[in-house]
Symmetry: C2
Subunit: 190 residues, 2 copies
């Protein structure tokens, strides 16, 4: 059990041992409910065949929500990114999870990501805009440009997230790359 | 000496005591050169009457550099921001240091900042563009909008820095404010 817990992100061997001791000591109030919760997840969670989101139903709650804008599609690397953007209802359209990012180092090629599925989904029509919400990392941006190329000529507006100063960012503490981007992409004060 | 050192940003009472002991122990190799360096700064450093930069001459090296673009002016809160932007030669024009930011909490009003001097400098003509490079903090943005209002009708393009994802930013780790900005200011992939 210790080894299985230590494999979780954020838990090392030391905190895993402490968690195990806690679970053994509080068998009825901690261990039994945790097992039940994990079993429920294992039984009930499915990957949405439409967008790749993880939910208790397929198609997922986001794909079937009638209040969402059906003309706007947001493409993300991972389910965690979908949840981050949807946490505060920042994006009101639909999503598409690629399932990772292109990486020569990790051996992730285009066919390992849900890019063909995305192209097929766009070809079906109905979307006017695709927002490529990739991370501002080297691999994220490589993936973004690859997906943009695959969508060229599809007739949808292919958008990317703005880059620049983050909220609360102070010039003196930001890296030069971000300062350069913020200066280069400067815009008129409204 | 300990108290004077402890007042420096980044030095607490404990590290100030350690610094003092080090300086006393290495009187000839540490204390004497430090005193000389501080005296030289005290004697030689002046504030540039044109832009507010701190340099060994007035007008400063930035203001007198003939290779710089004389049509573009970058307005910053502090000298530290000027140095941050100029470290990597990110901005090739001239600067104007306000000397702070508007703050109701700290009692900083418009007349405490070099805004009148900025308006006068712009009125002299020659600048086509003013970049308001304020921090992306609440006070920085308040200052930015105040300065923009004061420059309205002056005939120059008043620009602001781009806001959005910083370089290396990952969606799952960024705050909702930054994600919202990055989504709202999305742009076409080139």
């Amino acid at each position: 059990m210790t080894q299985a817990l230590a494999r979780l992100p954020g838990l090392g061997p030391r905190s895993a041992r402490r968690a195990v001791l806690h679970l053994i000591k509080k068998r009825e109030t901690a261990l039994v409910p945790l097992v039940a919760a994990l079993q429920a997840v294992e039984r009930n969670l499915v990957t949405c065949a439409v967008c790749g989101n993880v939910d208790t139903r397929d198609p997922c709650g986001v794909c079937t929500d009638p209040r969402r804008d059906t003309a706007s599609l947001c493409v993300v690397e991972e389910v965690a990114d979908l949840w981050a953007l949807d946490r505060a209802r920042l994006f009101a359209g639909r999503y598409h999870v690629l399932g990772g990012r292109l990486s020569a180092l990790d051996g992730v090629r285009p066919e390992d990501l849900a890019v063909d599925a995305l192209v097929a989904r766009i070809a079906e029509g109905g979307f006017a805009e695709v927002v490529l919400a990739m991370n501002a990392t080297l691999e994220g941006q490589t993936t973004m440009h690859y997906v943009a190329e695959r969508l060229a000529g599809s007739g949808v507006r292919v958008m990317q997230l703005a880059q620049g100063l983050p909220v609360g960012g102070e010039l003196d503490y930001l890296d030069e790359g971000t300062l350069a981007l913020a200066l280069r992409a400067r815009r008129l004060v409204e």
